[in-house]
Each structure stands twice: as C-alpha cells, then as structure tokens.
Amino acid sequence: MLQQFADYVIFTLLGLMPGSHLGAALDFFIYDTIKIFLLLMVIIFCVAVIRSWFSAERTRHILSHNREYVGNVLAALLGVVTPFCSCSAVPLFIGFVESGIPLGVTFSFLVSSPMVNEVALIMLWGLFGWKIALLYIGTGLVVAIVSGIVIGRLKMERYVQDYVWQMQVGEGEITELTFPEKLTYARDYTRDLLKKIWPYVVIGVGIGGFIHGYAPQDFLLRYAGPHNPFAVPLAVLIGVPLYSNAAGIIPIVHALMEKGLPIGTTLAFMMAVTALSLPEAVILSNVLKRRLLITFFSVVAVAIVLVGYLFNAVL
C-alpha cells in the first residue's frame, strides 16, 4: 500500500517516468521515509513502555548479585532495555563498579546499550527484513558478552581512574511509576527521540535514495566485494569516527548493500558506527585511564571485525 502511494505521488502526481534515475530515487525516498516513521513511532513507544519497568538502579541491583559469564549475559540483555544516554555514562559506570559489579560485566552493559537498541532494530527490520534485524541483535549481544568477558579476564581494574574507587556512592532509590505515568513517560520519550532523530532519518534516506537511483549496480562489488580481505576492517575503521546514530546510517548502508556490499561487511560497519564513537571515548576518559580505554575500543573492534568475516563467509 505504501509502495502504491509512493508510486502514485511520483509517477502520477509529479509525472516522472518510471525507470528514470530521478523517479527511482524519489520513489525510494518517499516510500522509505513514510515506512520508517510509522515503524519508529509504534515501536519506540512500545519499547519505552517496556523500559519504564527497568531503571539503572534496578539493573545495578540485579547485576550486583551475578559474577562473570552469567553476569555478562545478563548485562548485555539488560543493556538493551535499560534507558540510558551517553551523557549518563560516567555516573552509571561509577555506580556499577562501586556496587561491586565486575569490570567486565560493566563493559558488557556499556557495549550492548548503544549498539543493540530499538532504533537500530526498527531501521533494520524496515529496510532489510526481520531476519537481518534478528541477526544484528543476536551478534550484537554476542559481541557485548564476549568483549566484556575478555576485558574482565585482562584484570584491568587498576586502569580505572583512581578517584572512582574512592567515591562514596549513596543508596539511590528505585522509584516506581504508576501505569498511566508509564504511558506518559513512553509518549514523551517517543516524542523526544523522534524530534532528535528525524533529520538523520530524512538525510540518511535521502542519501540512500540518491545511491539507489544513481550509483552503478556493481559499484561497491568492485571495491568492497567479498574478494577484498581488507573490506571488513576498513569498514570498521571508517565506522568508528562516524558518530551518526542508527537512524541516519542504516538507510545509507541499505543502499550500499544493494550495490554489492556483502552482508558481513555491512553488519560490521553498522556495529562500529553505533557501538564505538569518539564522543563516547571522550566521556569515558573521565573514568578510564588511556590503556583501558584503548583496550576497550580494540577488543570491541576486533570482535566486530570477526563478526563481519564470519557472516561474509557463511552467507
């Protein structure tokens, strides 16, 4: 139905020729923008309602009773549903390690939280279908769990800034919202998030539409196809400084995949963009000494590269 609407606007109202570059690009743009905004509104709202049952305090309480392995798995899963924005990364980190949550478990949370989120899920589902969306979430969780276990094993506690261990942390209460309050919270959350990401979606879909309409079909196959062994690490290296959120990057990546970018390289690139970013590194340098910060980024980057190779090989 949406496709018919987009076709109607472009080919009947605007009178563009089907099959023309401009027509194809605009048709793609209108169809994708409408579809994504509908999905975003519905799913962000549902996720926000679920999230209102979880709070950072409750997550900390659950994790403080679990050690390595079980703790890492729980931390990665809770990272998905615990509301958290990067500006709270420092107090959250201190609150976690001070309450006795192992460093590696804390990192599993910090990796999964920005990478496996509802916006990425919606964009992937809307553009690539549910199989790829689930694949991304599954591998994202595995990357978070494994990276956390590796960092935990490296015993790097002394590379946390010294003041963190001396900090006095108060109890912090869990405030429970009533159900109508949860709905209000979800509504406001959806509105705020949409307000923040809509330009990224429009620009991302716009660039995606342009690539879709104009770039030659085998454009990327030639340079970044499966036979280029450096494509995956290169995609990750390009992805780290690109601080776009999932909303902006996924439509572009979708168009690139149509032009021959292999699935593993695509997934690796998206994970690098969402999980690792320079602003995050700056924020975390308040609590991590350089060595641990570099280790954190390297371990996660290597895990992502491995995911890329794996999927390029099996799919």
Partner: protein, 75 residues
C-alpha cells in the same frame, strides 16, 4: 528550601534547570536553585542517570526531564 539540579552538563540537564525555575515562578515558592555538575556530589546521592532533582538533600526523581508543572506539584 534548597533545590539542586544534578547533571553532567548535557542539554537535558540545562532544560531541567530552566523548568525548575519556571516551577518556582508558577507556584510562588521561594527556593535556592543550584546546578551541580561535579561527579562526586552526584554520586553521593546515588544518582546514576541524569538529570535529577534534589530537594533539601532528598532525590525527587532521576533520569527524566519533568515539566515545570510536575516539579511544582512535587514541591
């Protein structure tokens, strides 16, 4: 009464500060409002998600941006 707005300097924390002052204007309550940005003080209240609002040493809420009306109601 002393109100403290806890936040590490993100956009939401600044907005909460403005909302708190609006809440005082609406309700006519007199209070001193300070912005707290240093981490040790924030942590002493046990707050892990910012922004948060503290009234006379007690955390009213954390991790959300309340409207001026909501804040006025809590005071």
């Amino acid at each position: 009464m002393k109100l403290e707005v806890l936040g590490t300097g993100c956009a939401k924390c600044k907005t909460l500060y403005e909302h708190t002052q609006k809440a005082l204007a609406i309700s006519g309550i007199q209070a001193e409002v300070v912005k707290v940005e240093d981490i040790p003080t924030i942590m002493r209240y046990g707050v892990m998600t910012t922004p948060a609002l503290v009234k006379d040493g007690k955390v009213l809420f954390s991790g959300k941006l309340a409207t001026p009306e909501e804040i006025a109601g809590m005071l």
